[in-house]
């Protein structure tokens, strides 16, 4: 799938792009607005736009086209909600041999962390979560969010500093 001559108008190529990018695109928008339904709608709209413009968008540019379109749609209909993140349950099972008090403290910590993340400024949050949850490299985050690598690193550091301030000594 590296060929430059691949046309986005071909069903196979189009669905390949969907399978590759839709999840990150969805998460990215969700990190911004915290609304699952809105995130899904925006992903759908972005891919429909890609289809309607498939003859004008070359394969290599499709990814940034999608993110740019999604970002613009988002800006046009901002309706922010608090984002709600879930645990990966596997992690908790691992530490189940700890004392009940420890588990309680852990749960409290997680709750506090989620709130703190939800309260982060949008720009710091999207960078932090794309890095920590979606395991994207800074360079990729820069491409997704449409800012420079330097700005992404700054936002990442700022996010950590902001979060750190929410917690006292452990």
């Amino acid at each position: 799938m590296s060929s430059e001559t691949k046309s986005v108008c071909e069903k196979v190529t189009y669905e390949y792009l969907f399978n590759t990018h839709s999840k990150t695109l969805y998460n990215y928008i969700y990190y911004k607005c915290g609304d699952e339904q809105q995130a899904e709608d925006i992903v759908q709209d972005a891919f429909i736009k890609l289809w309607n413009n498939c003859s004008k968008v070359v394969f290599d540019k499709a990814k940034s086209f999608l993110y740019t379109v999604a970002r613009n749609i988002f800006l046009n209909e901002v309706a922010h909600k608090k984002i709600v993140l879930e645990h990966q349950n596997t992690q908790i099972n691992k530490v189940s041999n700890e004392t009940p008090q420890f588990i309680l403290e852990e749960q409290e910590f997680m709750q506090k962390l989620k709130t703190a993340i939800a309260n982060l400024p949008e720009k710091q949050r999207e960078v932090f979560l794309l890095s920590r949850i979606d395991k994207k490299k800074y360079s990729e985050i820069a491409e997704i969010t449409g800012v420079s690598l330097k700005a992404v690193e700054k936002r990442m550091s700022l996010a950590l500093v902001t979060l750190r301030k929410q917690f006292g000594k452990i």
Binding site: S22, Y26, E40, W51, E86, Q91, K169
Partner: protein, 309 residues
């Protein structure tokens, strides 16, 4: 905490695992490390809401089953592409026209014409002659093309060139007479200094006042004269040792006649003059010293010349 904020990307580098060993060691000993490590570890166990991509793909498949929409209203350009091409052509033609704008003067049989050039230089054209020059940039490029005979009175300035088939005459402010007909090329200098370059001889000659030069059949002849102005300006053509063929051409041009010269030797030389006002007198002054007789053939409108032996 403070020292890690000082460097904007420190924590970002830590997350990316780009810290050096020393940096990492120092950082691990700081009081912020346990908290930040916990935040990092814990945040990696988080996940976004589940995204049902298959359902969305199915929705998209429905919506995109139709052919991709082409834009409904065709875009009509305000300025069609061919208009640009046409504009370029028009501008190019305009430039070409301006760059090559020529003034063109012609005299017919027995006509004379005085032309004043843009720099006030004067050209007097003798009968049946043509003169062309480019009007653009005349001051910096004084060059004109001549076919026939003309007398030049040139104002001082940049070099002044007369281009003819047979050669180039180049001057710096002077008066001179040029004849260029077919292979015949003659220059007489009245004033100043003239440089004559012959194309056929590949040779340049400098003429001073009173000097003249002619090229006939690839041979060069020089002579001196005493006129201040060519006689043809005063209604008379003067020749010094000129081939009879040139004399007859001059007669033809002045009187709009045609000679049949098949019976005579055209290489004979003629010294003398003829008037422009009276044909029979002119014919007699030319034919008598050359030992020629002439008969006028009215039917064909030609004058037949014969040698008297």
């Amino acid at each position: 905490m403070e020292k890690f904020i000082k460097e904007d990307e420190f924590l970002a580098r830590w997350i990316a695992g780009e810290l050096s060993k020393e940096e990492l060691k120092k950082f691990e000993n700081s009081e912020d490390y346990p908290v930040l490590k916990k935040i990092n570890d814990a945040s990696q166990t988080l996940k976004a809401p589940t995204f049902n991509s298959q359902a969305l793909l199915n929705k998209l498949r429905e919506q995109t089953s139709a052919k991709p929409k082409t834009s409904k209203t065709p875009i009509i350009k305000l300025i069609p592409n061919w208009a640009y091409a046409a504009a370029v052509v028009v501008v190019a033609l305009g430039m070409f026209y301006v760059m090559n704008m020529q003034s063109h003067f012609t005299t017919g049989f027995s006509e004379q014409l005085a032309v004043v050039l843009p720099d006030n230089s004067e050209v007097k054209l003798n009968a049946n002659s043509h003169l062309y020059y480019k009007t653009l940039n005349w001051k910096s490029n004084r060059a004109l093309e001549l076919e026939g005979e003309a007398f030049f009175d040139v104002e001082k300035g940049e070099s002044f060139k007369v281009l003819t088939n047979e050669g180039i005459v180049e001057v710096l402010g002077t008066e001179f007479n040029v004849i260029s007909r077919d292979t015949y090329f003659e220059v007489q200098c009245m004033e100043g200094k003239v440089r004559v370059t012959s194309n056929s001889l590949k040779k340049a000659i400098i003429l001073l006042p009173g000097e003249a030069v002619r090229v006939i059949n690839k041979s060069l002849e020089e002579w001196n004269f005493t006129l201040n102005e060519p006689n043809w300006l005063a209604g008379e053509s003067t020749f010094y040792n000129a081939p009879i063929s040139q004399v007859l051409v001059a007669l033809e041009n002045q009187f709009q006649i045609t000679f049949d010269t098949s019976n005579i030797d055209l290489d004979k030389r003629f010294t003398g003059a003829f008037t422009h006002t009276d044909l029979s007198l002119a014919l007699r002054t030319v034919s008598a010293p050359m030992n020629l007789s002439y008969t006028v053939n009215n039917e064909k409108g030609i004058i037949v010349l014969n040698s008297k032996q």
